[in-house]
Symmetry: C2
Subunit: 143 residues, 2 copies
Amino acid sequence: MGPPAEALRKLGYPATRGRGEILRILSESPLPLSPREILDRFPAPRPDASTVYRNLSLLVSLGLVRSVALHERSRRYELATDGSHRHRVVCRRCGRIDSFQPRRCDLSRLEADIRGTLGYDVKEHSLEFFGACPKCRATEEGR
Amino acid sequence: MGPPAEALRKLGYPATRGRGEILRILSESPLPLSPREILDRFPAPRPDASTVYRNLSLLVSLGLVRSVALHERSRRYELATDGSHRHRVVCRRCGRIDSFQPRRCDLSRLEADIRGTLGYDVKEHSLEFFGACPKCRATEEGR
DNA sequence: ATTGCAGATGCAAATATTTTGCAACGGTAG
DNA sequence: CTACCGTTGCAAAATATTTGCATCTGCAAT
């Protein structure tokens, strides 16, 4: 099943088909996916939705998967492999989603500020941008 | 009803009781609230949940209210008055939420990058931090 | 290869969240 | 004060997520 299976076993959890598929599906998607989208991409026989939710929840708690909040009805999920930290850009008009890896994510200073003023030990952050994608900007020209 | 009412009327929408209350409730909360929490704070007679959803949706589209995504089951909402841009810090352990106003939100550079590489005209961003609040850090000491 | 156990899955149902249709009601402009 | 248009309540549907329980599966020790 590959490296993910080992990662799971190492953490003491069986590497079941469902978990392997979720990780594979996420690894093949350029975009974070909703539970529903993940389920739809499962090869037959499809698992029950509850299994997908349970596994996503486990994988998130193990740090193998990360949730992404784009202000939609449901959350999305993406692989949290290695140091793959990403930011999102969402088009308010057509819903297109792009993501990019920041050159150097210099929010460390802000995080230090937070530690100093609010006392939080910040471990993660999530940054999303919203605006108009090139295509929609072109369409809007004659507004 | 106050300034919010004028803002609504100016935009061509009736300033109904429900809208006024939502704006008041949000203005009195130091934290962004979920639709459910907003409903719970309504003085009797409480409106139907659908009314709250419809109004939140309208207020967001008018720019008077902003949604906040903290990777929870439902979104939260906050007043979007004036230039009140805020960032959140959420405790992963106890769920405590703090927010703060960045001294100077120097993401403009990143936004310029995005415009250059992806072609998006970025109009807004949303930045959340996750970690351990001071209280929970103390509790965890003897882990 | 076989077996036993802890944990995972399917299924059904409960719970939570959000949306929609429609008739009655309320806010605003004149 | 009246008329009109948009809003609200209510009921119901659609969507999203969680949970209990019996059965099945992955894993490790034979």
